[in-house]
């Protein structure tokens, strides 16, 4: 199978390319980028005028609604939407109902996603049982069942001693942890603290919410715990550049 994609805006972050041109694919591999080999005889030609042609996007923090929230979206509808938006791989958060804290749930999700053959699904397992923030999940078992890391989704662990243990346990096996750096109490607002939130009468999320949470997420397991790019407050970056390390 040979495909020619013509006149698309070719975007390739790896090489820094961003220009209008043609792309030739043979047997699933790129054989011409920008310029097409003279002898290339496509089976199919796609006119991509006005479209971006880019490597498949990876969404690092997706919510799939199955199981438990099928009325909001089915696995097929979510993966179709992902593929339509150019997302070929997605990492899904564990806050389904029930949460992804059992190997069987992960195996079922992987199996169903594979059968749909739309976007590839890389699930995150729950960091604590039922996302309750009390007891660790069987991370080794969940990893064997196919999860690529662990997360609390949007349910922060209130007890920071348990958060510390969870990060220590995960880093024993070098498992990645996706954390939303948002303090459980300070982060309860709906908008970044500031004049806009004040004017609109919205409960603000102060910068301290992210700073406090960030200080924890970079604690002794730094370098081994991953992070999701959720920053709910307005100025987290300066704090990120000079994290303070709490005593272990």
């Amino acid at each position: 199978m040979k495909i020619l994609i013509r006149k698309g805006r070719l975007v390739d972050p790896a090489s820094g390319r961003d220009e209008v041109g043609d792309l030739a694919i043979a047997a699933g591999r790129i054989v011409g980028l920008g310029r097409v080999p003279a002898d290339f005889q496509p089976n199919r030609t796609i006119d991509a005028t006005g479209f971006v042609v880019a490597p498949g996007l990876v969404d690092l923090a997706t919510r799939l609604r199955e199981p438990g929230h099928e009325h909001e979206g089915m696995l097929e509808s979510e993966l179709n939407a992902a593929a339509a938006g150019g997302v070929t791989s997605l990492v899904c958060l564990p806050d389904t109902d029930p949460p992804l804290d059992e190997p069987g749930l992960l195996e079922m999700l992987k199996f169903r996603a594979r059968n749909l053959s739309l976007a590839r699904v890389f699930p995150l397992g729950a960091l604590t049982r039922g996302l309750g923030g009390d007891a660790l999940t069987e991370m080794a078992e969940l990893t064997e069942a196919g999860c690529i890391g662990f997360s609390q989704a949007e349910v922060p662990i209130a007890d920071t001693s348990i958060l510390l243990r969870a990060l220590q346990y995960a880093s024993t096996y070098r498992y990645g942890v996706w954390l939303r750096p948002q303090d459980a109490w300070l982060g309860r607002g709906v908008a970044a603290s500031g004049p806009l939130a004040t004017r609109l009468g919205l409960t603000g999320v102060p910068v301290a919410s992210s700073v406090r949470a960030w200080n924890w997420t970079v604690c002794p397991t730094s370098g081994e715990a991953g992070l999701s790019p959720h920053f709910p407050s307005s100025r987290p970056r300066p704090a990120m550049s000079r994290p303070t390390f709490p005593p272990t």
């Binding site: 049982r129 009390d134 007891a135 660790l136 999940t137 069987e138 991370m139 080794a140 078992e141 007890d159 001693s161 348990i162 243990r165 969870a166 220590q168 346990y169 880093s171 024993t172 096996y173 002794p220 397991t221 272990t248």
Partner: protein
Amino acid sequence: MLASRHPQLNKHGELIHLLTLEGLPRDVIHHILDTASTFLSVHEREVKKVPLLRGKSVFNLFFENSTRTRTTFEIAAKRLSADVINLDIARSSTAKGETLLDTIANLSAMHADMFVVRHGESGAPFLIAQHCAPHVHVVNAGDGRHAHPTQGLLDMYTIRHYKKDFSGLTVAIIGDIVHSRVARSDIHALSILGVPEIRGVGPKTLVPGDLAPMGVHVYHDLADGIRDADVIIMLRLQNERMTGAMLPSAGEYFKTFGLKPEKLQLAKPDCIVMHPGPINRGVEIDSAVADGTHSVILPQVTFGIAVRMAVMSIIAGNEP
């Protein structure tokens, strides 16, 4: 100088209390182990007694529950012909609100000669040793997470019995080191006796990363930690650690850090497997290993009585 640093030594450097193994001179440890070996044969006699502590009163003060350790101390004291008094201290004096030092003062007034103390707080036996009458000797039978020196000594006895020499050994201590007084006493003793490679093995929630100043190499992978070990000391995993923030489940612990026959093959062919007991089969150790040819768990118990006899007879024989 030595005596001021070590309240358990008198001015001649002799042992008058046994509170911790940390900082004990190597010859003091070997003297205890040598003495213990002379007591081993007492167990096989028709009359299992020697008269070394005849007329002395040994008070077992267990502020924390224990059956096994209390019993072994009781057997050891009785084989030395001492009178043994077991006090249900946790449910009497302490429950009535008496302070620790008042309890000790009262018991000293009953002319006790030796206190065998187990306490949930690290350091309690030190406090008792500092405040009891000069003629009273104190043996620490386990204080908090700090020390369990007689267990440490019986572990050293066991290693010396099977390996003869400490100078070329690799010893892996596996499991819940952070909560273990046994591990701390073992580490100090192994270090004093010149073991060149002491390893702490377990998940990061149970094995602190800052053990290097104690001379311990930390491993968070069982296979790496066990490789070429001469001695494996398994630690008991307490039930309350198995579910919660320390570990997700007993099953996952067994899968990742449980000692199974295939893992044991990574150690030296003549390695010995030790455990302070009580063992959790299928949690920290597979039955095939606990009952296997490398296991010296039951001999440890036998040696434990001889070692406790040695400790009690030595400290009772030294002047304050």
